[in-house]
């Protein structure tokens, strides 16, 4: 009772305060607008209900703005406004009157905050409204939203809409919603036809509905029918989950290959144990960050430009390391290891001093976020797809450089027999520097890819150095194909072990396997053959 009185008082209060020209006070939209400004979430839930009941285009506009966090109110006169999306400077329109307010300062307005309950409330309301939307994809999204929250109410609504629906895809989705509604029907025949319609559908709502029915029904033959349908669905799901696992494995593998392929050159071809390899990756990732600072309005372009920039910067740092330190230590692998480890610490602390120890945020361009949804059980994330493709591209280019270019020829000559190569007029020192620069540059490119997956921070490199060495050693030192096969293989093995053993144990198992493998075949998967390898 007391609550009711407060409500009445509140509404009277609103009626007095509100000075809205189009919507008279007492109009649901005006009331909702007032309630939205309240600090209490219960008021806001009520506001959304009011807007839903009102159901006009204006109400929908307000709800969409609220969902996209574009609904504000002005601090000076408490007018509800909608900000235009991504406009610079900010422009706003009055949410109730459509009146243009023009450019405003962000500090002059306060955002209407929302929580998860409001978000899902709005999502459902908008889906209900969208069922009659003239655009086909909006209708389809709305019907799919109904699938997530099946109710008898939505099923009857969709039944009436089905008659006029022309698009076959939407009709199909609608029939599933209706069938789901009928699963709980009292008529046995209706239930049977519903189960038949749902056979082979892998949407989780279907599975849950059938499972519930299976537990409730007392009819044994019917229960067996349902079990058959569920088994069919399960078999399909297993197939998709296998495909998904292979995809996960390939994408982890491509990250490993990207991180390791630079090392395959410096360690594999030149025989330098470069502990600072991870930091060269990190420099590539920070280059992406800096490029983004330079081009803040075009994230996609800055990412593409980062690839050559990272190659050049990491490559130059690599050449500096080679000329400054490593060339004095050729043939003394222990000293090289210690010296490059020292360099890696210096590089880390330098980055900490310049960019602060905090992680830097690298944004993902919109064309790289989200996923390619094949069906409700299988969706492949876009950023991973791009990285697999990118990895293969880098591998291909590098392979061509080593096999077809003059530099590649000289690199191979020096790595096979330095003295003979020098006798033929190859400047072996210059080739050393170039090779090291090439490997380092590739590490920088890997950093660009990693900036899209993980944190850009001073410790980025450390996380990948062990894995990189593992891939190169397993694949066979000095063999690019070996690196590709071993990276992809380890990725897939890891992903198939993970669901069964957990992430921690999977890593350990892979490591143990490699140690045992190296005992049997010390030269890795694809050992180098010939006299050069014996030396």
């Amino acid at each position: 009772m007391a609550k009711l009185i407060t409500w009445i008082l509140l509404i009277i209060g609103i009626t007095v305060v509100s000075l809205n020209p189009t919507y008279a006070s007492g109009h649901p939209i005006a009331d909702a607008a007032e309630l939205l400004k309240s600090k209490k979430f219960t008021d806001k839930y009520r506001a959304i209900e009011l807007l839903e009941a009102e159901g006009s285009e204006q109400a929908e506009k307000i709800l969409i703005a609220l969902q996209e966090s574009r609904l504000y109110y002005l601090k000076r006169d408490k007018k509800l406004i909608i900000l235009a999306p991504d406009a610079e400077p900010l422009t706003a329109t009055n949410a109730l009157t459509h009146e243009d307010i023009g450019p405003i300062k962000k500090s002059a307005a306060k955002k209407i905050s929302l929580n998860n309950r409001m978000r899902s409330q709005i999502r459902n309301v908008l889906a209900m409204m969208d069922l009659r939307n003239p655009l086909a994809d909006k209708r389809l999204a709305a019907v799919n939203q109904m699938l997530d929250n099946p109710s008898a109410e939505s099923a009857t609504l969709i039944q009436t809409l089905l008659i006029d629906e022309q698009v076959p895809e939407i009709r199909e989705a609608m029939e599933i919603v209706i069938a789901l509604g009928k699963l709980t029907s009292g008529d046995k025949n209706e239930r049977l036809t519903a189960v038949a319609v749902l056979d082979g559908n892998i949407h989780p709502a279907v599975r849950n509905g059938l499972r519930k029915l299976q537990q409730q029904t007392t009819d044994k033959a019917f229960a067996a029918d349902i079990k058959q349908v569920l088994d069919n669905i399960q078999a399909k799901l297993q197939l998709y989950s296998l495909v998904e696992n292979i995809f996960f494995g390939l994408s982890l593998g491509s990250v490993l290959v990207l991180a390791a392929i630079g090392l395959a050159i410096t360690f594999g071809v030149m025989g330098v144990i470069n502990m600072a390899h991870g930091e060269l990756i990190m420099i590539g990732a920070y280059t992406t960050y800096v490029m983004q600072l330079l081009l803040p309005n075009d994230i996609g372009l800055s990412l593409l430009l980062s690839i050559p920039a990272a190659f050049v910067i990491s490559g130059l740092v690599g050449i500096a390391i080679e000329r400054g330190v490593i060339r004095f230590l050729y043939g003394r692998s222990l000293e090289t290891l210690l010296a490059t480890f020292g360099i890696s610490l210096i590089l880390q602390q330098t980055v900490r001093t310049i960019f602060s120890p905090l992680n830097r945020s690298v944004e993902t361009p919109t064309w790289m976020s989200g996923s390619w949804e094949i069906n409700s059980a299988l969706s492949l994330t876009l950023n991973r797809l791009y990285i697999i493709a990118f990895c293969l591209l880098v591998f291909g280019v590098l392979y061509l450089v080593l096999k077809k270019s003059v530099l590649g020829l000289q690199v191979r000559a020096v790595s096979q027999n330095r003295a003979m190569a020098r006798a033929m007029g190859v400047r072996s020192e210059w080739v050393d520097a170039m090779t090291f620069g090439l490997g380092s540059g590739i590490a920088g490119i890997a950093g660009v890819a990693l900036s899209q997956l993980t944190n850009v921070g001073p410790n980025l490199g450390q996380a990948y150095i062990i894995d990189s060495f593992m891939v190169v050693v397993f694949g066979g030192v000095g063999n690019l194909w070996g690196t590709l096969v071993s990276g992809m293989g380890l990725g897939i093995a890891n992903k198939f072990l993970e669901p069964w053993s957990g992430a921690v144990l999977a890593k350990i198992l892979v490591l143990v396997f490699i140690i045992l493998f190296i005992q049997k075949r010390p030269r890795g998967l694809f050992p180098q053959k010939g006299r050069a390898a014996e030396g």
């Binding site: 966090s69 900490r352 905090l358 944190n455």
Partner: protein, 429 residues
């Protein structure tokens, strides 16, 4: 003759030198700051070092403490756990600091703890932790599990209606103990085994594809599912990114995190995270006068308008003020006197209330649940009606159910079993 002259002059010089150093020591009170400024933990701990420097500067502006100026002594344990013990010893025996403010990870605290106990120092620990510890010389100003994890689970259960639970954590002591407590708590509330999924990942894990896909499958049974995350530090960013990319929004499966605060969010693109939750005792967005003063002081001190404040900073604010008050009350910085005086001391916190030091060396705090917003801040969606008293020994673990801690005389025990009426003296694991 000459020799004895030399001898006596040397002695007098030594006395004079000693006198000078004594005089200098008497002028200031030294405060030790034991936070990593390099290595993996520098990302979180550098901020706390700066917070302490700011608090000490403020106190000195107000005239210092007991008429003396405070002098910060900063050492760098470099994220190297055994080094924490060495640096702690250096602070206490070489610099003779009156109190140490420091540590982030539990393992570093466990490393320095025997040193602090041996030398009878004072350590203020500002980070939320797994509990199951109460030392005579340590004051825990961060949250115990019952001040963060348990209220968060209550919120999800009662307000959101969550029935299936994913407990995801990084593989080390804090997540393992917290999840053990949470699992026992959920089971006590009638949650079945099959509705709890527990998952551990290594430090800095970056490939979350399979785990997120598993969570998606686990959450697709039509029953409301939530993730309780004790995932630490860096690993959070790729985790949330993967959630976003695989299309799991906060409305479908909310994630409530115990280690993600404003500072961590400042390094992330927060768009895919909007709506996910965090449980803390403080948020920068809390509308309170003391808080807005603290924020503007912080921004002025660090000379950067974009810097954020976070929960462990508030814990240092509370801990430092409690220590100041206790020293004033005791009239000395003597460790035993301060230990006695600080129990019951009550200071304002930054969320509009007071926090007091309890006999078990934990503090009272409100618990807030916030939703991540697009600007990297949290919007408070729920909070406890009053203050929650920190519980050193969890009531939900069979081993520690009957154990209490009370450092007041005559009990003076960190591990007292009320059933057997015995003090085990084992104050930490």
């Amino acid at each position: 003759m000459k020799k004895s002259y030399l001898k006596s002059s040397l002695i007098s010089m030594a006395i004079a030198l000693a006198g000078i150093s004594n005089a200098q020591a008497a002028e200031t009170i030294k405060v030790g700051i034991l936070h990593s400024l390099s290595g993996t933990m520098a990302i979180s701990e550098t901020t706390l070092k700066d917070t302490m420097l700011m608090l000490i500067e403020e106190q000195n502006k107000k005239g210092g403490l007991l008429g003396k100026q405070l002098e910060p002594v900063v050492v760098d344990p470099a994220s190297n756990w055994p080094l924490f013990a060495e640096k702690g010893r250096e602070l206490l025996s070489q610099h003779k600091v009156a109190a140490i403010f420091g540590n982030w990870t539990s393992v570093s605290r466990k490393s320095v703890l025997p040193v602090v106990e041996e030398l009878n120092g004072l350590l203020f620990y500002p980070v939320q932790y797994e509990g199951e510890e109460s030392s005579k010389n340590v004051f825990y100003t961060g949250a115990a599990p019952n001040q963060q994890a348990i209220p968060a689970v209550d919120y999800l259960m009662n307000d959101i209606g969550v029935k299936r639970w994913v407990l995801a954590g990084t593989d080390y002591v804090y997540p393992r103990t917290t999840n053990k407590i949470l699992e026992a708590y959920l089971k006590a509330k009638g949650v079945a085994d099959k509705d709890i999924m527990i998952n551990y990942t290594p430090f800095g894990h970056s490939d979350w594809q399979s785990i997120v896909s598993d969570i998606k499958k686990f959450g697709s049974t039509g029953v409301k599912t939530a993730v309780v995350s004790t995932i630490n530090g860096d690993a959070n960013v790729p985790f949330y990114k993967e959630l976003g990319n695989q299309g799991l929004s906060a409305e479908d499966i909310p994630v409530v995190a115990f280690s993600v605060g404003e500072e961590e969010l400042s390094g992330i693109d927060t768009k895919p995270l909007v709506g996910h939750l965090a449980a803390w005792n403080y948020f920068m967005s809390v509308d309170d006068e003391a808080n807005s003063n603290f924020i503007s002081e912080w921004k002025a001190f660090i000379k950067n308008d974009k810097r954020v404040t976070n929960d462990p900073m508030e814990a240092h604010y509370i801990g430092f003020n409690m220590w100041v008050k206790a020293v004033e009350k005791a009239g000395t910085t003597n460790s035993d006197a301060v230990q006695e005086a600080i129990i019951g001391v009550s200071v304002p916190n930054l969320t509009g209330g007071y926090s007091s030091m309890l006999p078990n060396h934990h503090v009272t705090k409100p618990v807030l649940i916030g939703e991540i917003q697009g600007n990297g801040q949290f919007e408070v969606v729920w909070q406890t009606s009053g203050l929650v008293a920190g519980d050193a020994w969890s009531d939900y673990l069979p081993g520690s159910k009957d154990i209490i801690s009370d450092w007041r005389a005559p009990l003076s025990c960190g591990n007292y079993n009320v059933k057997t009426a015995k003090c085990s003296g084992q104050n930490y694991e």
